[in-house]
Each structure stands twice: as C-alpha cells, then as structure tokens.
C-alpha cells in the first residue's frame, strides 16, 4: 500500500488498503487481540490519511474528494469499504469541501451497515477517532456552515446509541453456555462505547445547559432503556467520571432518578459511591459548592435515592444496601464535618432499609458493612458526640448478638482512647443503650467467650465508668446514680467489675464535697443554682456507697472486694466526712462480711490486715464505740487458725492502741464530728506484744514437734516482733525499757545463730536491716538508747 502511495497510484493503494482491512473481518479474535490487529490497520490507514497533501495534489489533477468518496465505495466488502469511507471522509471534511455535519451524518448512518458487534464497535470507534477535531465544535474551524455544536453532539450521541445497541446485542447472541466468556469480552469492549462520552465531554461547546438539556437526558435514556446489567454498570460510571462535577450538580435529580430504574444486577452502591466521592471532592474545592449542594438539598436527594433503590430492589444484598449508606455517611462526614444530624439521618434510613430485610444476622458481608458504617462516627475526634445519634442503637440492634457486642466493645475502646468525659445523666443513659450488650447478658452474644475475654471486656467498662463525671457535684452524683441503676442489673458476675469504680468515684465526690465545703461554700451553691441541681450531702453520697457495697456483698461474688469497699467507705466517712455513725455502720458491715463470707484463711489474713489498717486510721470514734470495734478486730486475730497468722495479727492489733498523731491539716468545716485525740494505750499495746511473743514461742514449739525445727518461720516472727518493739520504744512508750529491748535483741540473736536461720538469706538480711535500723535510731536517738548494746 505504501509503495503504491509512493508511486502515486491511488487506485492500487486503495485496493491494498481494502485487502488489508479485509483482515478485520475475522471473527476469531478476542477483543483484545482484535484491538491489536485494529491498531496495526489503524497505523497503516494513518499513512493513507497522512497523505492529505497527496490527495490535494490529486485534487488538482481534477479529482475532487467527492470523487474519491465515491471511489472508495467500490471496495467489495462492506467493512473495508466503510473504513476507507471514514478515512476519506475525514480528509473531505479537513479540506472543507463538504460540510462536516453532512459527511458525519452520512458516515454515522452508513456504519449501520455493519451489525456484527465487535466489528461494528471497532468501526464506529474508528469513525470517532478520525473525526476527532473535525467536529463542528464551538470555536472550531469547521463550525459555521459545517454545522454547530448541536450537530457535533448529535453525531456523537447517535454513534454512542448505536454502539451501545451493538454492545448490548452481543449479550443475546450465541449459546447460553458461552455466557461467561461473552461477558468477559463485553467488559473488554466497554471502552469503545464509553469513549464517545469522553469525546462529548471534551467538546468546547458543551456547557452545563447543553449537558442538562440534551446530552444527559439522551444518555440516561439510552442507559436505562437498554436494560443490560453490564452496560448500565459501566456507563453510569462513565457518566459520573467522564463529565465535570458542575454538570452533575445541575442534573442531580435526573441522575439519581435513574438509579432505582437500573437492573437488579447492577451494583448501584458502587455507582452511588463514586458519585458521592466526586461530589465530596468537588465540595472540598470551594465553599460555594457546598452552598450549591445545600440549595438543592443534595444530601436529602442522595439519601432519598438510596432509600428508593433499597426499596425498589428487595433482592439487593444487605451488604450492598449497607455499602450505600456507608458512602452517604462518608459523604456527610467529608462535606459537613460538624453536622452529626446528617449521619443520624443516614442511620435512620439505613435502619429502615435493612429493617425490612430482617436485619443482617447470619449474613457476614452485610454484617461487616454495617459494622463499618457504625464505626465511621467513632473515628471523629469528639467520639462522645456519637451518643447524640439517636438511631445508632437501633442500627446496632440489626446486628447479630456477637457482632453487636463487638461493636459495643469498639465504642468503649474509642471513648477510652480520647479524653472523653460523660457528664449528663441523660447522656449516661444513652451511653448504656449503646453498650447494652456489655452491661447485661443478651442471648447468643457470649458464645465462645472465655473468662479472660470477659474480664477484659468488663475491665474496659470499668475504665469507662471513671469517665462518667461532671465538675458539678449534683450532676456528678446523678450521673453515678444513673450508672448504678443501669449497671446494677447486669448480673452477679459483672458487679464486681462495675460496682467498685462507681463506689470509688462516689468516694472521690465525698472528698470533693468536703473540700468544697471548706474552700468555696458560696460559689459552689451558686454553681448548684445555675445547675438546677442541689449538691448532695456527703452523707447521702456515703449512703449511696454503702448501698453499692451491700449490693456487691449480696451478689456473693468476691466478698473480699465488697469488704474493701466497706472499709474504704468507713475511712472516708470517718476521715473525710467525719460522720461517726455511718463510719460505724460501714465497719459493722465489714465485720459481718468477714465473719460470714471470707472463704479461706489466706483471704482472712488479708481481710483482717485491711480491717485493722482502716480502723487504726479512723479518728472519728469516741472511746466507747471505738472500743467495741477494736475488741471485735482483736478477737478475730486470736481466732485465726495458724499460729504465725495469729502472731502477726496480734502485732498489727497492737497498733490499734497506739494511733499516730494526725498530720496537721488545714481546719475543715464539714459539719461533722471533730477528730478524737489519738489513742495511746501503752498497757494494751504491751499486752498485745507479749501475746505475740507467746504465740511465736508456741509456733516454734509446734514446729519443733512436727518438723524438728528446720523451719525458719518462728525466727522470722521474732524479728518482726523486735521491729514492733523498736517502734514503740522509739515512740517513747513507757512500758518498754531498754532492758526489755536488750533481752529481746539477745533472744533474736540466739535464734538467728541457728543453722537453718543462717541458711535463709532473706531472713538474715531482714535481721541485719533491723539491726542497722536500730543503729540509725541509736545514732540520733538521744540518751534513751545509751543503755542498748548492739
């Protein structure tokens, strides 16, 4: 062909070209292979066309393009003939010997001669390609007599419509068993059809008005009426991606109206998502875009369209429905970051759409999508605002129990991550609605959960309780009461996790009230007035703590924890609020629990140590009630089973008779009892110490009988006793003289000299440290120490 061209033999050149183009008549190639062949032919035709100058010369020899246009029609087969016709036609237009619009119309009509889908599509694609730049576009040199922008659009729209028809028809040719292969081939051919849209969108003359009045209606008409899954899916994407944002904004109703009309097999959520993505990006460029979106209630329209799609297609998968709403929620978050109300509207619509489908239970993908939807608002910096989403728990309820629970755990984790505080009783109620699966048993949610998981989960809830606070005491108290009311019903195994944090929060409140009462009396009442809630009395809060602890005790799970609560309450009542009766009540409860519920001797030992420690520090009790409490505690110590335990308990009890001088603290006026002077009863202390010594000896003998003294425990007890003696001696207690101490020192030294004791490194160190301590005391202790020999 090229040789013929070089030889100026046009007729031959055309003949060769036609022969070459005949190759394109094959039906054996896949679209991609056919495309390669087409590209080869195309390159050759470029040469033919590139000889515009040559044709011009030809023209001078008396041949017009019109003749040439006739001449190429002599080609025997229709396909080569039309390729050549398109080629020459383009030259014809370029030479401006004919009006572009006439030639184009002629060509686009003539191409109907090829109805084989693949060949037809490539031929028409070729037609587009060669006529590019030759269209009577606005501002183009072919405008005017050659036509107007409307002719250019008409040409492309017609070509597009014809191509789409060919493409869709392909679906219905051949045997059903080739369907998969055919659909794959159709997918590959998609761009040939879609390219028409690119040509249209790149026309200079295409403004928004033309798009709205002509292009979009014609395209959508074709898309909807072709009733073909593949075509609709692809072309909707092309329309959305191929035309500018401004066009979509103007034609949003029409675009959205098409969505519910699409075939059931079209994945509408992807279409909607890409539209939303575009609009969101567009909105980010300029504030005026957001205003434009608002003025046509774009969000409402979009939401409505999604709802309609879901309603129209009852068979649409739950996951796809959820995916649409995810896209909407993302859109709302991107375009209107502050407006959580919009997210709520999305959730309401989603709930409605999925509710009709009977939730998402047992459908993994839908479940996943829904979880993703619910996770979106949690990603906000102010995650607590999620609680304002009224529809949120409803959507959560659509999930299967286990995922509902996971979601709840996610919410808790998110709230814990930030420095969120929840300070409104109503908000607390909502919070617990949101995490309902964590605070009470729901059927089916605990499948496969082991104890460790449970502890972890409840631990997180417990941490969350510490975030329930308000700077206003009245409100803080109300929040805690609300929390207790909800959490108190969670079943015995949850109480030990969730009640202690409530109790300790309340104790913190007691302290706050006490301090506030001293420091800023008038201002706190002003805050209360403003608040509309009176600050509670410390007594009321302590009663609350008492109730919480009693509930925990009654639940029977981990009485040790309840006991600690009672003791902490007692301490607070005594030292912070200075309310003797309540403090006494707390101790009584603690004793009751000690007697009835502490399960083993190890727990008893710890519990008793705690009781003694708490009691020792309480200064609110007048002598008589205090004596009663102390009597009880010392009584317990004597009743411990093992001698060493008894010994240590008695040592500890000795401190009950020798209270420390309270730290000088700023005078507090909490309306309670003034502190009692510290108890200093040396005689009783001495009784305890002697008893401890006796018990230690007894323990030693008991062991000697059983184990031949290989145990060092009694020796350790002696060292401990020595330490107590040293303490009281240093405190200047009258009953302990240097000689008493000296005797004890010798006794201990003798004990320590034995072989088993020397072998016990820890004990040796303990002893050595004790002596070092004594030496230090002696060094600065004054004349009382002089008599002591080390």
């Amino acid at each position: 062909m090229k040789r013929a061209l070089d030889d100026d033999n046009l007729r031959e050149a055309l003949r060769y070209s036609a022969a070459m183009l005949g190759e394109l008549r094959t039906s054996l190639l896949t679209p991609q292979k056919y495309f390669e062949l087409y590209m080869q032919a195309f390159d050759e035709l470029r040469h033919l066309e590139a000889c515009a100058a040559y044709f011009a010369e030809e023209h001078n020899k008396g041949r017009s393009y019109a003749d040439l246009y006739e001449l190429v029609q002599h080609a025997g087969n229709v396909l080569p003939r039309l390729y050549l016709l398109c080629t020459v036609g383009s030259c014809f237009i370029r030479a401006k010997e004919a009006h572009a619009k006439d030639i184009l119309r002629d060509l686009v009509e003539m191409c109907k001669g090829v109805q084989h889908p693949t060949r037809g599509l490539f031929l028409r694609s070729y037609l587009c390609q060669v006529s590019r730049g030759l269209l009577p576009d606005t501002g183009s040199e072919y405008e005017g007599e050659g036509g107007r922008i409307s002719d250019a659009l008409e040409f492309l729209l017609l070509n597009f419509t014809e191509m789409n028809k060919l493409w869709v028809r392909m679906q219905h040719q051949g045997s059903p068993k080739d369907r998969e292969r055919r659909e794959k081939e159709r997918q590959q051919l998609a761009d040939l059809v879609g390219k028409n849209l690119t040509y249209m969108s790149q026309l200079e003359g295409l403004d928004v008005r033309l798009y709205q009045d002509v292009v979009q209606p014609r395209m959508m008409e074709q898309v909807v009426s072709c009733r073909d899954d593949i075509a609709q899916q692809y072309l909707m994407q092309c329309v959305i991606q191929g035309f500018p944002d401004e066009c979509h904004l103007r034609t949003l109703p029409a675009l959205l109206a098409a969505l519910p009309e699409l075939q059931a097999g079209v994945r509408v959520h992807l279409v909607l998502a890409s539209l939303l993505d575009r609009l969101a990006r567009y909105a980010a460029t300029d504030a005026s875009v957001v205003a434009a979106l608002d003025s046509c209630d774009a969000f409402g329209q979009l939401l409505g369209a999604a709802g309609k799609v879901a309603a129209q297609h009852a068979e649409m998968a739950g996951g796809d429905v959820a995916a649409m709403f995810i896209a909407l929620a993302q859109f709302a978050a991107a375009v209107y970051p502050g407006q959580l109300g919009l997210v709520d509207r999305v959730l309401v619509a989603c709930h409605e759409a999925l509710g009709e489908r009977g939730g998402t239970a047992d459908r993994t993908r839908a479940e996943k999508q829904l979880i993703a939807l619910l996770a979106l608002p949690l990603a906000r910096p102010d995650a607590v605002a999620v609680l304002g989403l009224s529809a949120y728990p409803r959507v959560m309820a659509l999930l299967a129990p286990t995922s509902r629970k996971e979601m709840a755990a996610k919410i808790v984790a998110t709230l814990l991550e930030g420095d969120t505080e929840v300070g409104e009783p109503a908000q607390v109620e909502k919070l617990f609605d949101f995490i309902a699966p964590l605070i009470a048993d729901i059927p089916g949610a605990d499948a496969g959960q082991d104890e460790e998981d449970f502890e972890e989960e409840q631990g997180a809830v417990a941490r969350l309780i510490h975030r329930l606070r308000s700077p206003l005491p009245g409100r803080h108290f109300a929040v805690l009461k609300a929390a207790r009311a909800r959490l108190g019903g969670g079943g015995a195994r949850r109480l030990r996790f969730v009640l202690p944090p409530i109790a300790f929060q309340a104790l913190g409140l007691v302290r706050q009230l006490a301090e506030g009462g001293a420091g800023r009396g008038p201002s706190s009442s002003a805050a209360a007035v403003e608040d509309g809630e009176d600050a509670p009395t410390a007594e009321a809060v302590l009663q609350f703590v008492h109730g919480v602890a009693v509930q925990l005790a009654e639940a029977g799970d981990k009485p040790e924890v309840a006991l600690q609560l009672f003791l902490a309450g007692a301490q607070s009542a005594s030292e912070v609020a200075r309310l003797e009766l309540i403090a006494y009540e707390f101790f009584e409860q603690a004793f009751l629990l000690y007697e009835e519920a502490i399960p083993d001797s190890a727990a008893e030992r710890t519990a008793l140590a705690s009781i003694v420690g708490a009691l020792q520090r309480c200064t609110v009790f007048p002598p008589e009630p205090r004596a009663a409490l102390v009597h009880k505690a010392t009584g317990y110590s004597a009743k411990l089973l093992r001698k060493p335990d008894q010994c240590r308990a008695v040592l500890a009890c000795s401190r009950l008779f020798w209270q420390a001088t309270p730290e000088p603290s700023p005078p507090q006026d909490v309306g309670g009892a003034a502190p009692q002077p510290p108890v200093r009863d040396g005689e009783r202390v001495l009784v305890c110490l002697k008893r401890a010594l006796k018990t230690a000896h007894a323990a030693q003998q008991q062991l000697a009988a059983a184990l031949r003294g290989a145990n060092t425990a009694p020796a350790s007890l002696f060292v401990e006793i020595l330490n107590h003696y040293l303490f009281y001696f240093d405190q200047g207690m009258p009953g302990i003289t240097p000689s008493v101490l000296q005797n004890l020192l010798e006794l201990v030294a003798n004990e320590m000299a034995t072989e088993p004791c020397q072998a016990d490194a820890a004990l040796v160190a303990f002893h050595a440290n004790t002596l070092k301590h004594l030496a230090a005391l002696k060094a600065k202790g004054g004349p009382r120490y002089d008599a002591i020999q080390l």
């Binding site: 040789r3 094959t26 590209m39």
Partner: protein
C-alpha cells in the same frame, strides 16, 4: 515527495488518574485548559506538527485513561511508541510513587527493542497549585528518581499556566526522534497473534 515521508512520532502519556495527562496534551496541542476533572475513557491521540532542528515531524500524542476501569481493551497501542511520558502530580505523593509501576508496565507491554535506552520523559505537573505550598514531592526527589532510572529528562510543568509545557514536548520530540531508527519502508510489522495459529477465517457476512 518529501512532505509524504514526514516522520511520525508516537508518544504515550501515562500516569495516575487526575495528574493532568489530558490537560497537558490539550495545552500543548490546542492551547486550551479546563480545570474541571473529566476522566478519560479508553485511549486516544491528538497530532501535532513539530519542528525539530531542521526536520518537520508529526507527533501522535496518545492520552490514556489513568483509571484502570477505563482501560478495558488493554494497551496494544503502546506498541511502536517512540517515547513515553510519565506524569505525576507534585502535590500527591502516591502519584509519584506509582511512576515505577507505570514505567515497568510500559516496558513489559510495549517491549521496545532496547528497554534500557528507551526514551522516557518525566513531568511533575500542577506546580501552580497553591503557589507550590501544597507540594509534597520535591524537585530533588524527582530528579533523583530520574537519575536512578538512567538519566530521564525531568520537567516541572503547569498545564494550567502553560509552564514548561512547550519545552517539555520539544524535548519529548527530540528524544523520540533519536529513538526512531530508520525503519524498512515496505515490510509491514508482522501481526503477532500470540502464537495462536488460527487460520484467518474469511467470514463473508461483511
């Protein structure tokens, strides 16, 4: 006839979606610019006559779809390319990182005779955005990459403000021309059907 023997240079523009491939081509060929994003569907070209030194050549500039979903027919048009232009957006890191992929993909698909010396040109586009304040890929970084790939010429362009567009394409044309070997005139390329030894069927329906 000298005019007919005019050289045709085939240039392929590649790069991620939205980096400005179509805009660069339109600015260069038509001197037009639109800031609206319109995805390109499929691949298509514009031609432009260029004077390189004393030769007049025709550049066939292929604009391609950056979005994979609009590249359904494959990349048969890569073949016979004389130069490949890689475009990225200096304001988007990812588009720069993807240059590697585009280059590799091109070399595999176009399979040029000598991949090591095949001419590429890299364009860092959109330098105008926000007066360069939102830029994330530095010129140094880009040049380093180009050097590492065998000294690819690099241009910083703005299709919007027509910065460096002409000089970039001038360089593209020059490099493409250098690559273009004197091809045997009349022996057409063999159509490789990928060893699919299928006899050419003569369907008679059209």
């Amino acid at each position: 006839m000298a005019s007919r023997k005019r050289t045709l240079l085939k240039v392929i523009i590649l790069g991620d979606s939205g980096v400005g491939k179509t805009s660069l081509m339109n600015q260069y060929v038509n001197k037009k610019f639109s800031s609206q994003y319109k995805a390109t569907i499929g691949a298509d070209f514009l031609t432009k006559e260029v004077q390189v030194d004393d030769r007049l050549v025709t550049m066939q500039i292929w604009d391609t779809a950056g979005q994979e979903r609009f590249q359904s027919l494959g990349v048969a048009f890569y073949r016979g390319a004389d130069c490949c232009v890689l475009v990225y957006d200096v304001n988007v890191q990812k588009t720069f990182e993807n240059l590697d992929n585009w280059r590799d993909e091109f070399l595999i698909q176009a399979s040029p005779n000598d991949p090591d010396t095949f001419p590429f040109v890299v364009l860092g586009n959109k330098v105008d955005v926000d007066e360069g304040r939102s830029r994330v890929v530095t010129e140094k970084k880009a040049k380093q990459w180009c050097t590492a790939k065998g000294g690819i010429p690099y241009f910083e362009t703005s299709a919007k403000d027509d910065v460096n567009v002409d000089s970039a394409f001038q360089c593209i044309a020059r490099n493409a021309l250098k690559n273009e070997t004197e091809e045997e005139q009349y022996i057409p390329d063999t159509v490789d059907m990928n060893a699919q030894a299928v006899p050419k069927g003569r369907s008679s329906c059209c």
